[in-house]
């Protein structure tokens, strides 16, 4: 556990400081730097809770499923790449590599079996796509029905450019108007200034 949490670039002193921070109850072993009064008193319950949270299922899920892992690291990397492209149909916002659902586990296994047999990435993805349709692809394919989806960023950009261009053109044409005063304005100004002087 500790190894996973430790900052990787920490030297010995850092490591001690880190341990002291995380486990203040062990502080006496590392010669306390700060007097006890300065340390936040979080109580034993807090650390027990923290430990339980670390040991809980999500913490382990992060480490990854080791049940089916290909011996060849190159193949395993490829299997993972494929898995990250495929949506878990049970936990729909996760890829099958991230999900712990039984179906995701089955699909992970199928991906690995096929990779081991030498199937290309496209072939494995096509296998799953044939069964579960476009929905299983986390990267939607480009076709007529998905055109709007893919074109939206470009359309938004073009729309923005158009809006800027229009507002600029308008500012140029209407703007603040001609800088020269008209005859009527000049007369009015003269009257106003005359009033001031009077």
């Amino acid at each position: 556990m500790k190894i996973f949490l430790m900052p990787s670039d920490a030297g010995r002193a850092h490591r001690r400081a880190w341990l002291r921070r995380v486990f203040p109850s062990l502080g006496h072993k590392f010669r306390l730097a700060a007097p006890a009064a300065l340390r936040p008193d979080l109580g034993g319950g807090f650390w027990l809770l923290a430990l339980l949270l670390l040991l809980s299922a999500p913490a382990f899920a992060q480490i990854g499923d080791t049940t089916y892992r290909l011996r060849d690291p190159e193949q395993e990397t490829r299997a993972r790449e494929i898995g990250k492209e495929l949506r878990c149909l049970v936990c729909q916002n996760q890829s099958i590599e991230d999900s712990d659902a039984p179906l995701a586990r089955d699909l992970r296994r199928i991906v690995r079996e096929q990779v081991e047999l030498g199937a290309s990435n496209e072939l494995v993805i096509r296998f799953v796509h044939e069964r579960y349709g476009d929905f299983v692809l986390l990267r939607p394919p480009f076709r007529w029905s998905t055109l709007l989806l893919w074109a939206t960023p470009a359309l938004a950009l073009l729309g923005g450019i158009f809006a800027i261009w229009r507002s600029r053109r308008q500012a140029n044409t209407t703007g603040i108007g001609p800088l020269e005063l008209t005859e009527a304005e000049r007369k009015r100004l003269a009257i106003l200034q005359g009033d001031q002087k009077a």
């Binding site: 149909l89 039984p102 179906l103 089955d106 069964r131 579960y132 349709g133 929905f135």
Partner: protein
């Protein structure tokens, strides 16, 4: 005063600026209302995955029978030369929605519609106990313990129900428990239509 007012956008444009957000809000409200309605009557399911197999024959497979049931096994060859449409239901004894939808399958069976079952990732003993307790709607029953055939069908959870026409083409699929509304609005009309042809 009037000079200042003229400096702003033209009156027609100002009106547009006032009404545009209202229009957008109204459109969003309408869309949201339609979505909620769809959720209520089941026509809109945000988590629903459309089947990739609609309009296609089922994949090639041959499943073993549930021996204690005495029912014939299920294989893709069974879908050839059928007299009428058939309902295929993926189920498991450990799946509560399967119990909920079970009476509808029994009703279909009583009606004379062949219901073929695939028992998904189940223990033989539990599957048999389920059939003994709730009744058996299935005319054929295949056992898919590893769940591989289910994946070939594009099943992503039990219960899932398919309707195939007499030529063995998948015409309809629903993921989830069959409801009375689904029976009345989708399943029964489709079976009537497919039987008539």
């Amino acid at each position: 005063m009037s000079e200042v007012a003229k400096a702003g956008p033209k009156p027609s444009r100002r009106k547009l600026l006032v009404y545009a957000p209202l229009g957008v809000a109204a459109a969003a409200g309408l869309g949201f209302w339609a979505m909620l309605r769809g959720l209520q009557d089941g026509s809109f399911n945000p988590r629903g995955v459309p089947s990739a197999l609609l309009g296609k024959p089922p994949p090639d497979f041959a499943l073993p029978a549930l021996e204690s049931s005495g029912l014939p096994a299920l294989a893709s060859t069974d879908f050839r030369g059928m007299p009428g449409p058939v309902v295929v239901n993926f189920w498991a004894s450990w799946c509560p929605p399967c119990i909920i939808e079970h009476p509808h399958l029994m009703a279909l069976q009583r009606q004379g519609v062949p219901v073929w079952g695939v028992n998904y990732k189940d223990r033989a003993r539990d599957a048999q106990a389920f059939l003994t307790r709730h009744g058996n709607p299935y005319a054929r029953l295949g056992v898919d313990k590893p769940g591989r055939v289910a994946i070939d069908w594009g099943v992503y959870g039990v219960p899932e129900t398919y309707i195939l026409d007499r030529n063995g083409i998948i015409r309809w699929r629903f993921a989830g428990a069959i409801t009375p509304e689904l029976m009345a609005q989708d399943i029964q009309p489709l079976i009537r239509r497919l039987s008539a042809r």
